[in-house]
């Protein structure tokens, strides 16, 4: 199979609506999710959830770990619970084929070489502020639409996904600086952004002076 075939196989697994709901729930959760919690969140039976979750694991979209949920140990403690989380790999299909990633990498290299960090940040800030949704006050929804997977951690809004992951890995200062400006641009007045990374996610976190969540 080609890489494209692999991607089709993985994404085809998501054509089932229940499976898609389960995937979205687990992928957006900052912590590993057990079968009971996933079943409850999606509104299906535990056994149906388990069946679909394991299909998602087989497709490479979710990863598994085992954890004891109770404090008890030794005989009678029961088997450790099977926990699910988003798998690390990336899957993308574009029809017809598009190579925006390649273009992005080339552009980033040139911007880095030319030292145009400030110009990039200004453009990112403007693009964030120009988001038609950003004029409203629901920053959480704006971030969700853009793929950041926001979640509340006490009073702090954290972002469980980095939409620029591979580029950020390669051009850290450039891309993270761009992303910080983009998020600050999206944030209405009353919010402040900090560099406070979420493991496996985005390096930016946000706080609202109004604490209105």
């Amino acid at each position: 199979m080609t890489a494209e075939d692999d991607a089709f196989a993985a994404l085809g697994v998501l054509s089932d609506p229940v499976r898609r709901k389960l995937y979205r729930h687990v992928a957006a959760s900052p912590d590993d999710v057990g079968r009971d919690a996933a079943a409850e969140a999606v509104g299906v039976s535990r056994s149906l959830a388990a069946f679909h979750l394991d299909k998602l694991v087989a497709a490479g979209l979710l990863a598994v770990s085992f954890r004891r949920l109770s404090e008890r140990a030794g005989p009678g403690a029961g088997r450790p619970a099977k926990m699910y989380r988003r798998a690390d790999g990336e899957h993308a299909v574009s029809l017809p084929p598009r190579s925006y990633g390649t273009a992005g990498r080339l552009l980033a290299e040139v911007v880095e070489q030319a030292g145009l960090d400030r110009e990039l940040q200004a453009a990112a800030r403007a693009a964030g502020a120009a988001d038609p949704q950003a004029s409203g006050s629901d920053l959480v929804e704006v971030l969700r639409t853009r793929g950041y997977l926001p979640f509340w951690d006490g009073e702090t809004l954290r972002l469980a996904n980095c939409p620029f992951h591979a580029l950020a890995d390669e051009f850290r200062a450039l891309i993270c600086g761009m992303n910080l400006a983009l998020v600050e641009g999206m944030a209405p007045e009353g919010w402040s952004a900090a560099v406070d990374p979420c493991p496996g996610g985005c390096c930016v976190s946000l706080r609202s002076k109004n604490n209105s969540h």
Binding site: G115, D117, A173, G177, V195, C203
Partner: protein, 154 residues
């Protein structure tokens, strides 16, 4: 523990004199960012000038009054990376072009030193030169193309 620490050096040419308005924000943030480094997990040591607080008084090139040097040692490349890219240091880093010119050729390098070794300015500058001459290798490497610590001598 491997018995080795990773050393990092980077140099940068400031766009204006250190005591001028252009560099004021940079200078103002130094104490906070240096304190952040000093308390970061895996931090071992950083180069300071005779003044003692930071290394902005050092000029690694006698012929270049605006070239600053920054050098430190860490328990691992990952610890250094966490500090450099996963803390408020990133906020300073993202403003680098307000304060530092873009330089031709390598301006930073990583290399392994025996735990406890404190690199001199000359040693650090030599590692940048090695990276420029030979590219990434065990004697001088980059985050993107990193090399493991030498095997512990048994």
């Amino acid at each position: 523990m491997t018995g080795f620490h990773v050393a990092q050096v980077n140099v940068g040419r400031i766009v204006a004199p250190l005591d001028g308005p252009e560099l004021a924000d940079f200078v103002a943030q130094l104490p906070e960012i240096n304190a952040l480094a000093d308390h970061a997990p895996g931090f071992v040591w950083r180069l300071v000038d005779d003044g003692g607080a930071d290394s902005t008084g050092l000029r690694p090139d006698d012929n270049d009054g605006r070239l600053l040097i920054n050098c430190s040692t860490w328990e691992s490349v990952e610890a250094l990376e966490d500090f450099a890219y996963h803390t408020d240091h990133l906020r300073v880093l993202s403003r680098r072009r307000e304060w530092f010119q873009r330089m031709e050729g390598p301006h930073q390098a990583l290399w392994w030193v025996p735990a406890g070794h404190r690199p001199s300015v000359a040693e650090a500058m030599e590692r940048i030169a090695i990276l420029g001459e030979r590219g990434s290798g065990p004697d001088a490497f980059t985050f993107r193309d990193r090399y493991p610590a030498p095997a512990a001598i048994s």
